[in-house]
């Protein structure tokens, strides 16, 4: 994916002795929010290792502003569900989500968090997709997804935040438009 320079949403009019910045408050807020997404350290199984890979030097997600991984939900903006959610863990996940401050976003990383994945059939304890418990903004396919896929998901989330979309809009967009809508958004953003 092409990495575009992150333009500030506004124009500066030079005046003697300084300048006047003209912008929309909402756009500035969204711009700031999307570039400092702090993920919650929430890894239940294999995907957590790929999440660690994404944080390490080769992939280095701090290039895009995700490096401040927090251990407490109260300080984080995005929860990356890295791994399977089982029935015993589901209430804990809900509680973590409730403890996060708004605005909050959720990424379901990997097949297990998306749909139950390899544990969809013949199991008695796996939640078939984390969206049964909390609302999910971006889904990542893979078992486990490559670190690039995770970074792509986080950048997709960034694009959506920059578009100024609400959670409901993001979700309906994901459902209806799918990939085509996303690419269009990328072109615009």
């Amino acid at each position: 994916m092409e990495v575009k320079p992150n333009k500030f949403p506004g124009t500066v009019h030079p005046t003697p002795g300084g300048g006047i910045l003209i912008s929309k408050m909402d756009e500035v807020i969204n711009w700031a929010r999307s570039n400092s997404l702090w993920p919650l350290v929430f890894g239940t199984s294999c995907c957590a290792i790929e999440m660690m890979s994404a944080a390490s030097a080769k992939y280095d997600w701090s290039r895009f502003g995700f490096e401040v991984a927090r251990a407490t939900p109260r300080q984080s903006d995005v929860i990356i569900i890295a791994g399977t959610i089982v029935n015993k863990m589901a209430p804990v996940l809900k509680r973590l989500y409730d403890q996060m401050a708004d605005p909050k976003y959720v990424i379901a990383m990997g097949a297990c968090a998306t749909s139950g994945g390899p544990f969809f059939y013949n199991t008695y304890s796996v939640v078939k997709g984390a969206d049964h418990v909390i609302p999910v903004d971006v889904y990542v396919a893979g078992c486990p997804p490559r670190p690039e896929a995770l970074i792509h998901a986080l950048m997709t989330l960034q694009q959506k935040i920059k578009q100024g979309m609400t959670r409901e809009q993001i979700q309906s967009d994901m459902k209806t438009a799918g990939n085509a809508g996303l690419e269009q958004m990328m072109k615009q953003g």
Partner: protein, 375 residues
């Protein structure tokens, strides 16, 4: 005595209090829940609560065929997924009584040792992070990514490979494989010394680990510990030596033992194992025999009626696969003996009387993988 909903509670009439760590806690390496009884800073009791990542893999395997069930074991101990697959493949082969081609045996052992190095690398980074050093994590992942690239080229996946199949391995080696492994060996040799220089000799690191969490040999045996955890207490339990499989009897390597029994001894054993694995790789990589990479097996596998058990030495200890077959295409019952479960059970014993700050270091030195424990 305590309610799980409250994080900290005091026990009436005593100075003791109950503290919940996890299931969401970065130091538990996953979703382990520890209920700790404390008197001031001294740990009185540690009670691990399991099941937060119980995915019913054993039950699931009963409805999968002998070729299919292997993939689910890569998701158990995902840091040594090759070795888990290897154990399953060996157990099925035991029932099928097939001869494994020599090339496949070489490939399997090379993959096992690469996995062991990758696993110990990650452990080293996480261990240093547990005691407060962040840089080793990035250094360890530098080497780990090299192994991941090698795996990806040959097996098609970075983490959950599913490369071992009954009868051999799924694909032949990639043409670049030998060259890249040699390059890795040359690269990693200098890096282990860097590891030693950076962390092992560090006086703060040593003070955090020495004489902390001492595990006596008799306790290691009675709790069923295995792998580096038991070997650091002087218990000789390397299955590659004691119950050799594949071509391990022909290889020159030493079983790493240490008599310290404390966290630092466990650290040293794992670090020395890295060197031993490199030594094994050096012996194998130059003369991988030509030939088939997979024995001819039937499309649908059926194991004769009976019971089969195959233990194998993973990066964490003894991993056993126990299959009960009723002669049909799916196993009647599968039981996995995971090293993490036994190694976790000793946590209560060795951390009693220690300070709460040292608990994280003790857990780090045990090298727990939670999905391996819960299955």
């Amino acid at each position: 005595m305590y309610r799980e909903t409250e994080v900290i509670q005091t026990i009436p009439g005593t100075d003791e209090m109950v503290l919940n760590i996890g299931p969401q806690h970065p130091a538990t390496h996953g979703v382990l829940h520890l209920v700790i009884t404390l008197n001031g800073e001294i740990i009185k009791k540690v009670e691990p609560h399991l099941g937060y990542i119980h995915r019913s893999i054993e039950k699931m395997c009963e409805s999968l065929s002998y070729r299919q069930f292997i993939y689910s074991t890569s998701r158990m101990d995902y840091l040594s997924s090759h070795i888990n697959n290897h154990a399953c493949a060996l157990c099925v082969e035991q029932g099928l009584e097939v001869e494994i081609p020599r090339r496949a045996q070489y490939i399997r052992v090379i993959m096992d040792e690469l996995t062991r190095i990758a696993s110990h690398c990650l452990w080293w980074g996480a261990m240093a992070m547990d005691v407060g050093a962040l840089t080793p994590f990035f250094l360890a992942f530098r080497e780990r990514e090299m192994i991941n690239d090698i795996m990806e080229e040959t097996c098609g996946a970075r983490l959950t490979m599913n490369y071992m199949v009954p009868g051999g391995v799924m694909f032949d080696l990639h043409p670049n494989f030998v060259g890249r492994v040699k390059h890795f060996i040359a690269h990693f040799k200098s890096k282990i010394d860097e590891y030693d220089e950076l962390v092992t000799g560090n006086i703060i690191f040593q003070n955090r680990l020495k004489n902390i969490g001492v595990l006596r040999p008799e306790d290691a045996i009675s709790y069923g510990c295995s792998g580096p955890t038991a070997r650091a207490s002087g218990v000789s339990c390397d299955l590659r030596k004691h119950m050799p499989y594949e071509i391990y009897p022909e290889l020159q390597f030493e079983e790493v033992l240490d008599n310290g029994g404390d966290s630092f001894a466990r650290y040293l054993v794992r670090l020395t194992e890295l060197r031993q694995s490199m030594h094994i790789l050096e012996q194998l990589i130059d003369d991988i025999p030509e030939g088939d990479f997979q024995a001819k097996t039937k499309a649908v596998l059926k194991l004769p009626k009976g019971e089969y058990y195959q233990p194998i030495e993973t990066a964490r200890g003894e991993f056993g696969v126990y299959i009960v077959s009723d002669g049909s295409t799916t196993p009647y019952r599968i039981k996995f003996r995971s090293p993490g479960f036994s190694n976790l059970s000793v946590l209560d014993h060795i951390s009693r009387g220690q300070k709460i700050g040292d608990l994280v270091a003790i857990m780090g030195s045990l090298d727990l993988v939670i999905p391996d424990i819960d299955r």
